[in-house]
Subunit: 370 residues, 2 copies
């Protein structure tokens, strides 16, 4: 059992950790209890039963996920010596999870993905709900996409409401600038990702830059810093959080890129090869192009970005990624980034227990199967 796995712990078992032993095992049930209460309240305030598919779908999506950002947020709070009443930081953590639901819903619309967290993506589920509700099959796909855009929008504004509901004015003023930067950076990172998709390149630095904004800062740095700032962490602690977060976040995305191509769909909850079909300009692809023979480059340029690529095509691309040692190279990049993140913790002015938790998270985020 790890801090990132579903704990299956009931909210009744939640207890306040002792001040000197920060405990992340309660983050998931605590955050889930906040999310459930919030969504139930929204369902009660809805205009009518017609809007139920929206809240239902959001609730289903929120049941999955690793709760990585909430755990990092609470870890950052501990790093900043936040102890005692954790109501505020749990609201920030839950708001981050709702914000992530928004990001996933819109990301899946943009990528045309069918599966997320082992079940149909929001636009697919809302298309199915439309047919169940008597809608015409011929309109269902377009309806699903539009409804998912709206659902993402709802998750975004609700994440903001959830945040406001749990923080005082002074705390809000303190963290709002970070939230703003996080949101804008994510959208910009996603836009860079869009621009590079379908344009294979051997520019590893360009691919890493997208990773930095799309994932490393959004997924690791900002959750940690948000928790830290909320706890009133010193600039030294916040700098250490960032120095730890960026290499770890890059390693996290590099692992994601490998799982997208070589992972087990039963574990990842996503079809294998989607990044290849979409033509994502990942670090993995850039490294392969650098070492590819003319024939191998031809294979990549022909197959990567073909929306209907079948399994044999995926296998041919995989072979090139292995043969050029791109896969091995990415494994090495993950290991070196994880080591860099861990060595930051050796020097950092962090409470011992907080550093221990971050070490655990670093391990799990980089060796995971899902």
């Amino acid at each position: 059992m790890t801090v990132l796995e579903d704990q299956g712990v009931s909210p009744l078992m939640v207890h306040a950790p002792a001040a000197d032993t920060p405990d992340l095992s309660t983050v998931r049930p605590d955050v889930d209890a906040l999310l459930t209460a919030f969504l139930n309240q929204k369902a009660r305030l809805a205009l009518g039963p017609e809007t139920t598919p929206l809240t239902n779908e959001l609730g289903r999506l929120l049941q999955g996920g690793k709760r990585l950002r909430p755990q990092l947020c609470v870890a950052g709070w501990h790093a900043g010596e936040g102890y005692g009443d954790n109501n505020g930081v749990l609201h920030v953590a839950a708001a981050l999870e709702l914000f992530q639901a928004f990001a996933l819903i819109h990301d899946d619309v943009m990528d045309g993905s069918d599966l997320r967290r082992g079940r149909p993506t929001a636009h697919r589920a809302l298309a199915a709900a439309y047919i169940t509700g008597g809608g015409r099959r011929s309109r269902a796909e377009a309806h699903g996409l539009s409804a998912a855009i709206l659902l993402g929008d709802l998750a975004l504004v609700w994440s903001d409401e959830l945040l406001h509901s749990g923080l005082g004015g002074e705390e809000l003023t303190r963290i709002s600038p970070l939230m703003g930067t996080m949101r804008t950076e994510l959208m910009h990172g996603q836009y860079l990702d869009l621009l590079s998709t379908g344009r294979l390149s051997d520019d590893v630095e360009a691919a890493l830059r997208v990773v930095r904004y799309k994932t490393a800062k959004y997924t690791v740095e900002w959750p940690l810093r948000l928790g830290g700032v909320l706890a009133g962490a010193t600039p030294g602690v916040l700098d250490a959080c960032s120095a730890f977060a960026v290499p770890l976040g890059e390693a996290f995305q590099l692992r994601d890129d490998l799982l997208g191509v070589f992972g087990d769909p039963a574990e990842t909850g996503k079809p294998v090869g989607d990044d290849i079909r979409e033509g994502k300009a990942t670090v993995l692809m850039a490294l392969a192009l650098r070492e590819a023979t003319a024939a191998e480059e031809q294979i990549l340029r022909t197959l990567v970005g073909s929306p209907d690529l079948a399994e044999d095509g995926i296998l041919r691309v995989r072979t090139v990624l292995e043969r050029t040692h791109a896969r091995q190279h990415v494994e090495e990049m993950i290991a070196s980034r994880r080591d860099a993140a861990l060595s930051v913790l050796d020097q950092a002015p962090l409470p011992t227990a907080a550093a221990k938790t971050l070490r655990e998270i670093a391990q799990i985020a980089t060796v995971r199967q899902a």
Copy 2:
């Protein structure tokens, strides 16, 4: 020259209105100056030149528009006897305009619209920018849609930032619940609109319910109330604002429905007949179905909702809308709602000058050509 038309007034001409003569003529230049400064700041903070198309496109979209919500917001502030330093209310007004940009960008993606405010919609413009930037034509349409989803998301989070940048903690706490309700109601209203699209029905009440949430409350009631609450208006004044706003907002949307079918594209900035091609279940259509002969109903059911309907098909639908007196009936509904809104003002505990401004707005919002 009316309060809703483009004034072409330079920000240098802005002056504080005397306390007893609320003046909306400065709202547009004041709000535009705030929006321009905000977007320029965002452009400076961007990750790099690659993200320029996003900020540019948002800037271009914001150049158009009637500034109806900002004017109503300031009118609500005057109604609540807000005088003197108008910096706070102008920030709310500008945030509403940025929020409206978000709503339009996503709405145009959902409707697949080509034109907005007389120029290409955001997804079309971003597709064109992608090609200009060296992107492949075959990917341009999909890229434009994805980029517009991101741009809408950016406009939404930036609208929140703009709001925060201009209000103190106490003011934010006061208006945040209204903002939250407004946003959720709009998304729910849009979802009801999606559900009813392509399902023609003679249920006028159902169509009016969509109008209420999608437009009346969002476009008129919440901007007015936000201004009122910011000024510390009494419950009596706020109730009067709502009683005025809802019928006026319905009239506004009913006028929009007529303009979408019978308007002049040179004035509206949108192609005529798009509502017909999309199969929008408007009040106009519901009324026509109620009075249609079997042959006329057949025409409506066959042609309304055909994405590629040509001009002769639009003309056939128009003829049915005229023949069934649906057009005339909607004109009467607009007039009676405008009268209801105006008669609220006769009884309302509003400052005389504020009531006068609202009367002017009511006239313009319901007799407009665009």
